[in-house]
């Protein structure tokens, strides 16, 4: 009889024990497939937020700009010329000039009570494509005049404002003087970025720089449409372009080097990988335990088959095949169940924004888990490999059983 058939027959002989091993492997594989898909979804979510809201794929800004102190005096001056220069050298890229500034709104009844917010002055014509503003609009319209704003619905709720209301945020001019500007809310919007929805109002770049004493300047130019493979090359080309044109204060930075999104994503990936290893370890220990029990329970049988002429190598292969079969069935079930769960979730999404406690982490936390064919296949193969590998130790123990000693106990 072939070893494979013997292995299958052995598995059927104690179906409960086999089922336990298969279940452990399936649960571990399912969890890992789900986690990897979740990480993919989280990474896509963070990229979406970074690319559209905070940095673009590449962020062009003054090299001395300090995010913490919001040093508006370290700006991108003559930004229209910079945009023209970038457009002529990189015609396929999408560009979004933005002037971001911190702003406080005082409670009219209590001047010591302050609501903090951010203003972003944008070119609405380009943002309709870049940020897909029309899709984000909940109520009202896209601003047309210089004192009109589109407000994040969360901020409007916090301030108790609605479309048609006016408000006066207090902010700083380029060189640190306080100033206040009265805006009319003409639209409310819901953005993927909770920071935009809950803290931000969007005004036009037409006149705001004048009010902030920042004529012709913006804080950032966001660049999209680069692609992961080309990003370093494009950054080098852009920095060379700036140097060659005497714009030494500007730099192009990858989204990974600015903002918190990427480092958070790396941290999440690391944490999930650790969890994956622990799950694999637990599943492997169940399989190893099962195989050990099998070896001890079947000592007499091992003695019999070795007395009948089966070699030590064949005994090892027999147990290895049994473990492999358990691994293939368990990992297969886990992979299939994981995929079946992920596919609808990748369309519907998982809204976890309520669990973040309002902390901004560069993600919307409305996550669409994404199944990656490559990582799913790898998880399957890895699960099978681990299951088969851990069986080697008890199998080698089985091969060393002395047939005389084993048969004497019959």
């Amino acid at each position: 009889m072939k070893l494979g058939n013997i292995a299958i027959r052995n598995l059927k002989r104690n179906s409960k024990r086999s089922l336990l091993s298969i279940s452990a492997t399936a649960i571990a594989t399912y969890s890992i497939v789900f986690m990897f898909s979740f990480i993919n979804g989280l990474a896509n979510d963070m990229k979406d937020i970074a690319f559209n809201y905070t940095t673009g794929e590449i962020l062009v800004r003054n090299r001395e700009f300090d995010e913490k102190s919001f040093s508006l005096d370290r700006a991108v001056d003559n930004y229209k010329e910079v945009i023209t220069l970038l457009n002529s050298n990189f015609p396929l890229l999408e560009l979004s000039p933005r002037l971001k500034f911190p702003a406080s709104v005082f409670d009219p009844k209590d001047p010591d009570r302050i609501y903090s917010s951010f203003g972003v002055a944008v070119d609405f014509e380009s943002e309709i494509n870049f940020l897909k503003l029309n899709d984000k609009l909940l109520e009202g319209k896209i601003p047309e005049g210089p004192r009109e704003v589109l407000m994040g619905h969360g901020l409007a709720k916090e301030l108790g404002l609605k479309v048609g209301d006016k408000f006066t945020p207090i902010t700083m001019t380029r060189r640190g003087a306080s100033t206040g500007i009265t805006f009319k809310i003409v639209g409310l919007a819901r953005f993927s970025d909770s920071g935009f929805s809950n803290k931000t109002f969007i005004a036009s770049l037409d006149e705001l720089p004048v009010m902030l004493k920042m004529e012709g300047a913006v804080t950032d130019i966001l660049v999209k449409g680069v692609g992961d493979k080309n990003i370093e090359t494009v950054i080098t080309d852009m920095n060379n372009l700036f140097m060659n044109n005497g714009i030494k204060d500007l730099g192009a930075f990858t989204w990974k080097s600015v903002g918190v999104g990427y480092s958070f994503m790396q941290m999440a990936e690391f944490a999930y990988n650790i969890m994956g290893v622990i799950l694999f370890f637990l599943a492997s220990s169940v399989i190893a335990n099962t195989m050990l029990m099998v070896v001890f329970e079947r000592r007499k049988e091992i003695g019999t088959i070795t007395a009948m002429g089966m070699t030590s190598g064949e005994v090892v292969r027999l147990f290895f095949l049994e473990a492999l079969a358990l691994g293939v069935i368990g990992a297969g079930i886990g992979t299939i169940l994981g995929s079946v769960t992920i596919i609808p979730l990748s369309l519907l999404g998982l809204d976890l924004s309520g669990f973040t406690g309002g902390i901004e982490m560069g993600a919307s936390f409305h996550i669409f888990p994404t199944l990656s064919f490559k990582s799913t296949v790898l998880v399957f193969l890895y699960s099978v490999f681990i299951a088969a590998f851990v069986s080697l130790f008890p199998s080698r123990g089985a091969a060393k059983v002395d047939p005389v000693v084993a048969l004497r106990s019959i």
Binding site: S69, S71, D73, F106, P108, P111, D112, K166, T168, I170, T173, R174, R175, G176, A177, S178, T179, G180, I181, T182, M211, K213
Partner: protein, 237 residues
Amino acid sequence: MKKILFILLFIPCTLIFSQSADDIVRKVDENSTYKSYRAEGKVVVEGSYGKRTSEFIAYAKGVDNSLIEFISGEEEGQKIFKTSDDLYIKYPYAEDIQRLSRKKTLGAVSYDEMSGERDTLKNYKTKLLGRETIDGRDVYKIELIAKTSKVAHYKQELFVDSENFVVLKVLYYSKSGKLTKEMVTKEVKKIGDKFIGTRSLITDKLKANNSTESILFSIELDIPLDDKIFSLDELAW
């Protein structure tokens, strides 16, 4: 006998000291209170953004009302109006008037300090700490402790010129006793019968390179000023 002599000498001295702190502060307030006042000047603000200059015109009438209007620089178009109880600001691009916290600052100086304190005894308890010499001038050293949380500083130490009752130096302290700011009067001019500090420097002691220098070019005292200047309606325009 010695005891009686000591008591006879000591009691009048303490009485003089405890009474004169209020008197000195009252004289300081009197010296800086005019029927009306108009001054033109500039502030030079130094901070993390470098140095910037803004020119202003200041008006005051009586003890309570004062108005500062910035006519150039980053603050151009701003108007700050102070009444006995409140502080308001009108920004050039704002439609409404903002009520300000008295702690709101322009560089190292709070708007409250800029528009001046002319009713010190209403908001502070006083104590005479002694006499010292600053730049050859004999000064009274007076401690002010805030009676209300509305004012910008819990504790101040004033160094008042004993001759003309101009405040030559002020040390500002937080409630925990930490020195937060220092004001030094660098130039004093006599206008009519009043002595006025025309150049002063306020340094933030908690931030490096953060100071505000205030320089007055011209001062007119007791001139006719329309009451309308000191109203919220006028501020809104």
